[in-house]
């Protein structure tokens, strides 16, 4: 019989002095009701018996409800993926990170079209404050170069305007950041397309790792112990290490951007798994020294990839290659070097245009749309430079405007010491640089 008494006390004390008279009447009624129940000894009183109780009184009394305040759920738009509802409680004001639903910038701009207004808007932004001084490495003065908030392209965080200027301006060579960003978003496109697409991409560091392990392997007289599934390349094949990585046994084509730093050149290699062949797309076929260097790099890939495929038990997961009796697989040992095919009719870049990074990305994008034969395609390099920069800029701008973040695509690494995949670390989103969230109003 303690409960009605305590409630009565509560109601009594909670009312203000102005309403004291009125509340007294109410409390009498409550006590009267409760006494009836108490005397009958049938049940403890239910909430229905207290007709004047408001919801807030109940919440304030109940220890369970006090902890979890339901708050209000407001729908805040259709652009976001998971936490469509932000929880705004009276006591708990916990902002849930908004996840951006547009997974990659290519989603809205299919078929290589961008609205001209968007391009104009971007040009206005990027060509403002361009420094006229010559001999500068960056196109802007130090003060004008940085912008807030920084843009998070997953593989690289950009806070310098020069990143976009390099992309747009004809004649400026692309760096690893640009190629990696586009490869990363193409990978996301493959992963999150309504139907998973049958290709994967990797970062340009892959070639560096291949180059290095090949050197070690030759030095140790083809010692197979240096080829382990936990090496960086093995991890790439097993879908660790890189962001949003896809295991190679799920796909048919692997797109590999290759940089030969001695020749200051980018080109693209596509590993057609079903054909057991490397297709080389080179936008600048030139003299003999150049061809030799390209062949050297592709040769290294052709030798090392099958060795790593064997060590990561790739063929065990991809039994259909043998079950279908594909002619390229039947008569060969698993670790034989891959075939190499140079695509003779790949579109060629103009001289002194420094467009090979762009062409590499473009070839990759065509392949992502299942176009493998490109000899009839006419490429307007200037437009495509403009287009890539604009869609990346626009994508990040819309993302930043709402203070949204992309979900963590970390695939973690295999810690070789522990012999297994390490569980992904707790992701700490960096929200310090995002604009402060706008107050969401209750509807």
């Amino acid at each position: 019989m303690d409960q009605p008494v305590s409630m009565r006390e509560y109601v009594h004390t909670s009312n203000t002095d102005d309403e004291a008279q009125k509340s007294n009447d109410q409390t009498i009624g409550v006590v009267f009701n409760a006494d009836i129940h108490g005397s009958s000894n049938s049940k403890s009183p239910t909430l229905d018996d207290y007709s004047d109780f408001t919801m807030t009184c109940i919440v304030a009394l109940d220890p369970i409800l006090m902890l979890i305040q339901p708050g209000c759920a407001t729908k805040i738009g259709t652009q976001y993926d998971v936490s469509v509802y932000s929880i705004v409680g009276k006591r708990y004001k916990r902002r849930v990170n908004i996840l951006f639903r547009i997974k990659h910038p290519f989603e809205r701009h299919n078929r290589f079209q961008v609205a001209t207004e968007l391009i104009d808007e971007f040009n206005k932004w990027v060509f403002k404050d361009v420094s006229s001084r010559r001999g500068r490495k960056s196109a802007y003065s130090k003060l004008k170069d940085s912008f807030e908030p920084q843009m998070d392209f997953g593989v690289v965080k950009v806070a310098e305007k020069d990143f976009f200027n390099i992309m747009v301006k004809p004649g400026r060579p692309w760096e690893d950041g640009h190629v990696n960003t586009i490869m990363y978003y193409l990978r996301k496109k493959a992963k999150y397309y309504p139907i998973p697409l049958s290709y994967s991409t990797i970062d340009c560091w892959f070639m560096t790792w291949v180059d290095n392990i090949e050197k070690q392997w030759r030095k140790s007289n083809c010692d197979m112990r240096s080829i382990s599934p936990n090496h960086d390349i093995g991890q790439c094949i097993r879908a660790f290490k890189l962001l949003a990585n896809i295991p190679w046994d799920n796909v048919d084509n692997v797109i590999i951007p290759v940089n030969i730093s001695e020749k200051f050149h980018w080109f693209l290699v596509v590993f057609r798994i079903k054909l057991r062949c490397l297709h080389v797309y080179d936008s600048m076929k030139g003299g003999s020294v150049h061809t030799k260097k390209v062949n050297e790099a592709v040769g290294k890939l052709a030798t090392m990839i099958p060795l790593f495929l064997t060590s990561t038990e790739f063929y065990g997961k991809k039994l259909d290659l043998y079950a279908n009796k594909l002619p390229k697989y039947v008569h060969k040992s698993q670790s034989d070097p891959l075939d190499i095919k140079h695509m003779m009719y790949a579109p060629q870049q103009e001289d002194i245009s420094n467009d090979c990074g762009l062409y590499t990305c473009l070839f990759a994008e065509y392949i992502s749309n299942d176009v493998f034969d490109m000899h009839s395609i006419d490429i307007d390099a200037k437009y495509h430079r403009q287009r890539y920069a604009t869609i990346l800029w626009h994508y990040e701008k819309t993302k930043n405007k709402d203070g949204a973040i992309s979900e963590s695509e970390v695939t973690a690494t295999v810690a070789s010491k522990f012999g297994g995949p390490r569980i992904a670390k707790e992701h700490i989103p960096d929200t310090t640089n995002y604009p402060t969230p706008r107050q969401r109003t209750r509807n």
Binding site: W174, D176, F264, H265, G287, H290, D355
Partner: protein, 91 residues
């Protein structure tokens, strides 16, 4: 903060050729300091030659170790930057 600053974090930085350098740092150290001391050990004048990666993400030089969420024993990849334009290919 006084207790936190006494705690050290051990980081490994792995170069392209699999050589590993170990660093013992404060959680509040700015990454730029680590990068600069790494590049001076590698006899490079400019730390911007290297790209530092953790879990596939490029590390920003302006953040501290704590802000990036690095833990004891984490391994960072250091890659030499790459670029190319193809203008030197004509011979």
């Amino acid at each position: 903060m006084a207790e936190g600053s006494r705690k050290f974090i051990k980081l490994k930085i792995k170069a392209q050729d699999d050589t590993i350098l170990h660093f013992k740092v404060n959680p509040s150290t700015i990454m730029k300091d680590i990068f600069m001391s790494y590049s001076s050990k590698k006899q490079m004048m400019n730390y911007k030659v290297f790209r530092f990666f953790f879990d596939g993400k490029r590390l920003s030089p302006k953040k501290t170790v704590n802000e990036l969420g690095l833990k004891n024993g984490d391994e960072i990849d250091a890659m030499i930057h790459q670029d190319g334009g193809g203008s030197a290919c004509n011979y």
